[in-house]
């Protein structure tokens, strides 16, 4: 089919159908013509031959009749008394006999006659060339007897003459002959409808009913004398002079002449030719009808197809049609139905896609897109006042991390449910993504936001029940007002976002956007891009907070804390840029920078005579990044310190997110003889099982337990327990947030290994720390000397 289509001028269905129709028709035509031609030719030839045979019989019969007539005439004359008399006196009076013979010859319409006596001598003859007698028995037979007499062939008949009729003795023979040429007459042509020619036994033309010109053709032509039909051109090669002929022998004894019956080839095959013409005409008409049928059928298919194509084109442009054209052809009709179904399916899927595009799959609330569209629509429609509220859940990430995403999702669904059921009119809730929700409230006066804020804060008054879990949740809420804070959805959302983030640090329930907040948020945004530059430009510094060995009352180390002194914004607290660094991945470089700075500082102090163990905070990202051990050994090489005197502080949750990888990394670090410490111990959801597996040497008790230790009995129990736990696990303990002497002495009493806090010193820049250290050492020495 592919091969075929290559040769087709046009690949349309109609053209193909037409071509196939034509091809089939052509094959039928050719086969029919060939078959009919052969059959008709055979039949026609058979008929021509049969006609020729019949005609030959007619001619032969006619000659035989003449022969018998001649015999009968001779017979009568031979019985005539005067004839007998003349014959009897023939030898004495031949002249009379000859004249009588001539007379009788005319009567019986013969060409020659003569009398032979019973001694086979010629008594008298009308032709001088009759000199030798003929065998009378042959000539008197009832058959056709030809003789060559003189230069011609004759039909010869003879009757015996008996002087006395009843006598057994034959007295003489009377011969009469008719020239063979005389049998060729126009009458035969009329009788047989064929041209008759007579030939001598050796093939010389005697006479023919054909025209003179054609006769010449006969005498010169190469004729076949077999029993079948043959073709000869008697003229100058013209088609009209083609004759079909058959030959027959006439007469048996003593010789036979050849009869040739010919008919113009055109005439002979007239019926055959006219039949062929009729057949071709018939097939041509059938061909036209077939073509017409092909056109009608193909139109019946292609027209509805074209209409269907138009419909599908419309559908592809997104225009749905009410009715798809129908067709009486079942295949087209089913195609039409299929297109209708397809349109239905497309409609359905479009709806689903729209649902996906504009609705949140988890909560069923409108999504951010629809939220923005809706807001846009409202503004476009001339809404005068509206409030855009954004909120996100506090510590939702922790919930996800510790209770799993399934629980997190269920929680989000519960919140969405409450949002949807808020008893406030003109509210449009949406889930903007993650734990972020949004609300559009159409209000009369954008300054009266109280009902909205109250309603939203009410959402979180009741705890959320998840199976057996009861959860108290808080959310940060930011509100932006239209048209005061922004004229378009993007700026309104940004304002609400800024307001919301402003709550985060302040433990406020909600904030309404103010221009000042924007400044802070702009700074926040620029920090993201500036952090990397800040590392290189020395805007970051390490501050050191001393760690006191409680047993020996000696400063043995310090925790290194990163401080960013921005040239424009001034001091930026770590809890603002560390999360940023974690988000952008810059935390790795930050950690590396901190490690290198700490080691360089440590080396410097070492040279000045102070050996200090420095502690550096490691981000959870550093733990999943296997590069950390390599970085450390590289630093050790550069600083030519085969043994790094470092403590790495890791939060519990950092280990919890990917415990197996984290433990692998920790094991590696441990093998480098680094001290590993768990930071903020007691605040996370640490698993004791995990703790057991972790290769750490130190627990750092969170300041939440230490700050009020002196006055809070519960904290004392907790801390005592932690310390006891650590001791049993073979771990050191470090308490941070020590702010008074009583706490310090309590910790020493409880057996805590080290202490850190404002009571000793706040974090200090390197120089200040070194100074403090020198002073503290000096004081301690003095106290010791005093003590």
């Amino acid at each position: 089919m592919n091969n075929l289509s290559k040769w087709l001028p046009d690949s349309s269905l109609r053209t193909r159908m037409l071509l196939v129709f034509l091809l089939i028709l052509a094959v039928i035509v050719v086969v029919t013509i060939v078959t009919v031609q052969q059959a008709t030719y055979r039949h026609s030839t058979g008929q021509v031959l049969a006609h020729a045979k019949t005609s030959a019989m007619v001619v032969q019969d006619k000659i035989l009749n003449q022969s018998r007539q001649l015999q009968a005439a001779l017979d009568t004359l031979g019985k005539d008394f005067s004839t007998k008399q003349l014959i009897a006196s023939g030898s004495e009076d031949p002249a009379s006999l000859v004249s009588a013979l001539g007379n009788h010859q005319r009567r019986i319409n013969a060409d020659l006659s003569w009398v032979q006596n019973n001694q086979q001598q010629i008594l008298a003859t009308t032709a001088s060339f009759i000199t030798s007698p003929l065998p009378p028995e042959l000539a008197s037979s009832s058959n056709i007897s030809w003789f060559r007499l003189g230069s011609d062939y004759y039909l010869v008949q003879a009757v015996p003459v008996r002087y006395v009729e009843s006598s057994p003795t034959i007295n003489a023979w009377w011969f009469a002959a008719i020239n063979a040429r005389r049998f060729i007459s126009e009458e035969l042509v009329t009788l047989t409808d064929m041209q008759i020619s007579l030939f001598s036994p050796d093939g010389q033309l005697l006479d023919s009913t054909l025209d003179e010109e054609l006769k010449n053709g006969l005498s010169t032509g190469q004729l076949q004398w077999d029993s079948g039909l043959n073709l000869v051109n008697l003229g100058q090669g013209k088609h009209l002079d083609e004759y079909i002929y058959a030959s027959f022998n006439i007469g048996e004894q003593p010789l036979s002449l050849r009869l040739l019956l010919a008919s113009p080839a055109d005439n002979a095959y007239l019926s055959y030719n006219s039949l062929l013409v009729q057949l071709i005409l018939l097939l041509a008409i059938a061909g036209l009808l077939a073509l017409l049928a092909a056109v009608i059928i193909s139109n019946g298919i292609t027209r509805p197809l074209t209409r269907l194509v138009q419909v599908t084109n419309k559908i592809s442009r997104g225009q749905y049609v009410e009715t798809v054209p129908e067709s009486s052809t079942s295949e087209i009709a089913s195609l039409s139905v299929a297109i209708q179904d397809m349109q239905q399916g497309i409609k359905q899927r479009e709806l689903e896609i729209q649902q996906l595009a504009y609705f949140d799959a988890l909560t069923g609330l409108p999504n951010r897109n629809q939220f923005i569209d809706h807001l846009q629509q409202l503004i476009h429609n001339g809404q005068t006042n509206a409030a855009v509220l954004m909120m996100d859940l506090d510590r939702f990430k922790d919930i996800n991390d510790t209770l799993g995403h399934v629980t997190g999702d269920q929680l989000l669904q519960l919140i969405a449910e409450r949002l949807a059921n808020l008893q406030l009119s003109n509210l449009f809730p949406a889930r903007l993504g993650g734990d972020e929700f949004g609300l559009i409230w159409l209000c009369q006066d954008s300054s009266a936001l109280t009902p909205l804020l109250e309603a939203v804060e009410q959402l979180f008054e009741q705890p959320f029940m998840l199976k057996t879990l009861r959860m108290e949740l808080d959310a940060s809420i930011g509100v932006a007002r239209f048209p005061e804070d922004g004229q378009d959805p993007a700026s309104l959302l940004q304002c609400a976002d800024i307001a919301m983030y402003s709550c985060k640090g302040k433990h406020q329930g909600h904030a309404v956007y103010k221009a000042e907040l924007n400044k802070y948020s702009v700074q926040r945004l620029s920090l993201m891009s500036e952090l990397r530059g800040a590392l290189g430009e020395g805007q970051l510094q390490l501050y050191y907070q001393p760690k006191l060995d409680l047993a020996h009352n000696k400063v043995v180390g310090a925790e290194c804390l990163v401080r960013w002194i921005h040239p424009i914004h001034g001091f930026i607290p770590p809890d603002q840029f560390i999360p940023l660094a974690e988000q952008t991945g810059a935390i790795r470089e930050l950690t590396h920078w901190a490690l290198r700075s700490a080691l360089v500082q440590q080396q410097q102090w070492q040279e000045q005579g102070y050996t200090l163990n420095l502690a550096v905070n490691i981000s959870p990202l550093d733990l999943v990044d296997m590069k950390l051990p390599d970085v450390l050994s590289e630093l050790a090489d550069i600083l030519q310190q085969p043994q790094l005197n470092l403590t790495l502080e890791v939060t519990e949750s950092a280990v919890m997110s990917d415990p197996s990888t984290a433990i692998d990394v920790l094991e590696k670090l441990r093998s480098m003889d680094l001290v590993l410490s768990i930071d903020d111990f007691g605040t996370g959801y640490s698993s004791m099982a995990q703790l057991k597996k972790m290769p750490v040497q130190e627990l750092k008790i969170d300041k939440a337990f230490v700050l009020d230790l002196a006055s809070n009995a519960d904290d004392q129990v907790m801390v005592r327990t932690f310390i006891s736990l650590a001791r049993h696990l073979g771990l050191d303990t470090v308490a941070e947030g020590v702010e008074d002497a009583k706490t310090l002495s309590l910790l020493r009493q409880m057996g805590c290994t080290k202490a850190q806090g404002y009571y000793l010193s706040k974090p200090l820049p390197a120089n200040a720390f070194f100074q403090w250290l020198q002073e503290y050492q000096h004081k301690e020495t003095r106290v010791c000397e005093d003590g």
Binding site: Y163, V164, S166, S167, P168
Partner: protein, 213 residues
């Protein structure tokens, strides 16, 4: 008549001393007989001529020649009466005697002389079936075979040539001739070699030949 008797007497006289008899019988090739066959003897010796005024008769009876074969000695006058009530036209183109006689009822034409030996074939121009023969022989010693195919000739003893003739015999005439010396009672038996020519049965049913009249 006187002359005739004189001859007869002289013959009787001259032969009386040497009277002899020839019995001839003839069988056809299929061993049947052919009655009416003419048997006659010729001789190198002069034989007695025909009697002066000797006549014979070939009648037409019931549209047939009667007799079928008439044998006469050369010089015999033959009358052609017509016993039928209808007209006949008797003719002969035989070289021995060519003639033509229109025979009307009760009309008696003059007898015709047959002076030449030979076979005269007679026909009737109005009745094609009529066929008769007159055998003119140059001897007084002739006869015809009877129904048994036998004949006897009483002739003076001497040397003769025996001739057998019949229109239906195809055998060469010369082959049937034979020299016979007749002394006392002589017998000759002959058998034809060739089959006979066809002949009308009528001829065979002719009345017994009455012989020479």
């Amino acid at each position: 008549m006187i002359l005739r008797y004189a001859i007869l007497i002289s013959a009787l006289f001259s032969l009386s001393l040497q009277a002899a008899r020839l019995d001839v019988s003839l069988k056809t090739s299929d061993d049947s007989v052919l009655p009416g066959t003419v048997v006659y003897l010729t001789s190198a010796q002069p034989l007695p001529p025909v009697a002066e005024g000797a006549t014979a008769e070939m009648d037409q009876v019931n549209k047939q020649f009667k007799p079928h074969i008439l044998v006469v000695q050369k010089g015999t006058q033959i009358r052609f009466p017509n016993s039928d009530s209808i007209q006949h036209h008797v003719y002969s183109f035989s070289p021995a005697k060519t003639f033509e006689l229109k025979l009307y009822k009760d009309h008696h034409p003059a007898p015709l002389p047959f002076d030449k030996a030979g076979q005269v074939e007679l026909g009737c121009n109005v009745h094609d079936w009529m066929l008769g023969y007159i055998m003119v022989v140059d001897t007084p010693y002739f006869t015809q075979l009877n129904k048994q195919g036998q004949a006897s000739l009483d002739v003076p003893a001497g040397d003769y040539t025996l001739h057998i003739r019949h229109p239906r015999i195809q055998d060469d005439a010369a082959s049937l001739d034979q020299a016979v010396t007749i002394k006392g009672n002589q017998q000759v038996q002959l058998r034809l070699k060739q089959p006979l020519l066809p002949g009308a049965d009528d001829f065979e049913d002719q009345d017994e030949f009455s012989g020479y009249e």
